[in-house]
């Protein structure tokens, strides 16, 4: 028995919720970053499922774009985190509130 669309979407929602929860509760920027990636994966999973369900390639096409953008984003994001650590000696978000002033 093949799992239906419902099952894929449920997994996607759970993945997204875990990611979002992580973003909300974790203090380490690196972990927050991983959680963000998790949310992106949830979106790609949902898109692939929709694509298969509708017998169209549009969703899969989107996934390629998302993977590309995510790769670029990670490159930039990790660079920022490294730079932040060098400058401030910490990657904990509670210490990174200088934009307030």
């Amino acid at each position: 028995m093949h799992p239906g669309l419902q099952a894929y979407l449920t997994v996607a929602v759970i993945l997204f919720a875990i990611g979002f929860g992580g973003v909300l509760v974790r203090r380490n920027t690196l972990v927050i970053y991983m959680c963000l990636e998790l949310m992106l994966s949830a979106a790609t999973l949902a898109l692939t499922a929709f694509s298969r369900y509708n017998n169209m390639m549009d969703g899969v096409l989107f996934v390629f774009f998302i993977i590309t953008v995510a790769a670029a984003e990670v490159a930039v994001g990790l660079a920022i985190i490294v730079a932040l650590y060098r400058r401030r000696g910490s990657v904990v978000v509670d210490d990174l509130n200088h934009l307030k002033d």
């Binding site: 979002f20 909300l24 978000v93 509130n97 307030k100």
Partner: protein, 639 residues
């Protein structure tokens, strides 16, 4: 070159000169003086050439300037015999006055500025002379006001010159506001502002010029004339304008600019209904007598002459009001000769006395300055209308015309005659007073003691203009030469505008059999006035005899009937109070509600929104979550 091209060159040359002086020659006063004067004489030569080669057919070239929707503004020339006369007078007098300025302004630091100003003035006045429509005329009208402002304020380090220049500009603005409304109304009512088309409309349908709209347009257009030609009630600026250098007073505030108002009225005379003419006649005649009297109360030589100018502008306005624009132009031309001579003569005297202007600090200058004295005497006789001097031909004809109006149209108009005749008596009195106090008697100060004749730069224009003060009026005898192109000292075409009116008035006076009576009355008044002043002022000490005997009367004349005081009171007490009331609106609505209100609202919003910016990334994620929820609720129709 065609005449149109010559006219364009004439108009643009002084502009080029002004630009050159402003950009390159500000520091080189002598070069600026030379350039400006050479251009002045070139304009004179080209004008003469254009007038002499003109075939008498009205020229009206025109170019489109701007277009807004259906409205096209054009620029062009409207060249008829009136234009020729005014062009001749302006270019001739201006050239010689610029020549005089070289000598007069010799030791001045601001020569570049001064001659640049004269050039821009020439550009402006020539624009007025040549303009073919009211909009173009208005543009140059304002430029003339600007150059007058700039030249009055030449000695800008003195408070008085600054105040006088502002006063002249603002008072003129009041008149020009009416003028502008008049132009707009004229366009709306007649459908054009082109002088030639307006003339055609007026000729085709005389009924159009009698309605109430026509009266309104006439009165509003007259406002421009009232401001520029210093007529009642805006006459107060002219006497203060004497704060400028004397050549400026001679050129702008006596010979040309103030006469431009007369020229403008003569040019649109067909637009003036009888009601407007009546106003001009009565106010002009009253100004003639009143300003003539006030001239007797001035101890400053230039102010006395300024009142004389007011008085003579009154004569021209009277001539316009009597229905003889030609006579007004005739008097304008003669007045330009003798009043320029008088002002330049006073300039020569002031220069010799080290910028002393009080006539009771002068005296006995005739022997020391024979050329100045002699030309001043000739111009004095001319302005007092002694027979065979130029002034008598124009002035006595205006007086006769006023008398004929009284004879033909009701005795109330004898009032006009009485006023202008009284003005003539005043002329004899104040000119006699000036001449006898300044040139005869004993020197009353150190400077007058050591005065000596001015150099040739200053005496040459005096001789030329003084000669014309004596002889220019002889054009009425019609001595043609150069194959009929010239009539005595003027080109024949420039005599045309006034010759018909002159002949008409002289003939009607002859026909009525009063010619000799009128002549004798005028002559007796002029001579009696002068002889009286010889005995009354000839032996005067350092105080005016009237001031010594009747200080009250002298004070009234000195303050010229408290016009300035009334205006001061009006501005300070009435206008300022109205402004205070208007300021309440400004303070409550604009300042409080609009400015403070909007600023405060933005500030408050900013203060509230800043509270959301806590700087913690988790807080932003919660905001983001809230935003998503809000969007979701909105998209699914929950709210």
């Amino acid at each position: 070159m065609s005449i149109t091209e010559i006219l364009a060159v004439i108009l643009l040359m002084p502009l080029a000169s002004a630009v050159l002086i402003a950009v390159f020659l500000r520091k080189y006063g002598k070069a600026a003086a030379a350039l400006s004067t050479v251009v002045g004489f070139a304009i004179m030569g080209l004008s003469l050439y254009a007038i002499l080669t003109w075939d008498g057919v009205t020229l009206h070239p025109s170019w489109e300037w701007l277009r807004f929707g259906g409205y096209a503004y054009s620029m062009g020339f409207y060249f008829n015999s009136q234009t020729a006369l005014m062009l001749l007078v302006v270019s001739f007098v201006a050239a010689w006055i610029q020549f005089f300025s070289i000598g007069y302004m010799n030791d001045d630091d601001g020569q570049g500025r001064f001659f640049g100003g004269l050039s821009i003035f020439m550009f402006s006045i020539l624009g007025i002379v040549l303009a073919d429509n009211l909009v173009m005329l208005f543009v140059f009208w304002e430029l003339v006001g600007f150059s007058s402002y700039m030249l009055i304020a030449h000695y800008f380090t003195t408070d008085f010159a600054n105040m006088a220049s502002k006063k002249a500009f603002i008072v003129n603005r009041i008149g020009d506001f009416g003028f502008l409304l008049g132009i707009a109304w004229c366009w709306q009512h007649y459908g054009t502002v082109d002088l030639a088309q307006l003339g055609a409309i007026a000729a085709k349908n005389p009924g159009l010029i009698t309605g109430s709209a026509a009266v309104g347009i006439g009165l509003l257009l007259m406002c421009g004339f009232v401001g520029k030609s210093a007529q009642f009630p805006l006459q107060v600026w002219l006497t203060d304008a004497m704060a400028g250098p004397t050549p400026v007073s001679a050129l702008i505030h006596a010979a040309t600019m103030v006469a431009a108002g007369i020229y403008f009225m003569a040019r649109v005379f067909f637009l003036l209904p009888p009601y407007t003419q009546h106003w001009m006649m009565w106010s002009g005649a009253a100004m003639t007598a009143f300003a003539g009297l006030c001239a007797l109360g001035q101890t400053d030589i230039k102010k006395s002459l300024a009142y004389s100018t007011l008085s003579h502008l009154g004569y021209m306005a009277t001539a316009l009001g009597l229905g003889y624009p030609g006579l007004a132009l005739f008097h304008m031309a003669m007045h330009a000769c003798f009043k320029a001579t008088l002002f330049l003569g006073s300039g020569s005297v002031i220069h010799a006395c080290h910028h002393e202007q009080d006539i009771y600090k002068m005296g006995g200058l005739f022997k020391k300055m024979p050329v100045t004295g002699l030309t001043f005497a000739m111009a004095s006789l001319s302005i007092a209308a002694v027979p065979f001097f130029s002034g008598s031909y124009s002035k006595d004809t205006i007086i006769s015309a006023a008398f004929m109006k009284g004879m033909n149209e009701g005795s109330v108009y004898y009032g006009v005659y009485a006023l202008v005749l009284f003005g003539a008596l005043c002329t004899a009195l104040y000119m006699g007073r000036l001449f006898f106090v300044v040139f005869l008697g004993k020197p009353r100060s150190e400077h007058a003691e050591h005065a000596h004749e001015s150099n040739a730069f200053m005496t040459a224009p005096l001789v030329v203009l003084g000669f014309l003060s004596l002889t220019a009026g002889w054009v009425v005898y019609g001595w043609n030469w150069a194959g009929g192109k010239m009539d005595w000292v003027m080109p024949a075409v420039t005599v045309q505008p006034f010759m018909a009116a002159f002949t008409e008035v002289t003939e009607s006076v002859e026909k009525a059999g009063v010619g000799h009576v009128l002549d004798i009355v005028s002559v007796v008044l002029a001579l009696a006035g002068m002889i009286f002043t010889y005995f009354f002022y000839g032996k005067a000490g350092e105080k005016d005899p009237v001031a010594a005997r009747m200080p009250g009367v002298f004070h009234v004349l000195e303050r010229h009937g408290w016009f300035d005081d009334v205006y001061d009171w009006y501005v300070a007490k009435v206008q300022e109070r109205v402004c205070d009331v208007l300021a309440i609106f400004d303070r409550i609505f604009i300042k409080f509600v609009c400015v403070r209100g909007s600023g405060g609202a933005a500030g408050l919003a900013g203060a509230l929104l800043r509270r959301t910016q806590v700087g913690n990334i988790h807080a932003y994620v919660y905001w983001f979550l809230a935003g998503v929820l809000l969007y979701w609720a909105f998209a699914t129709g929950k709210i």
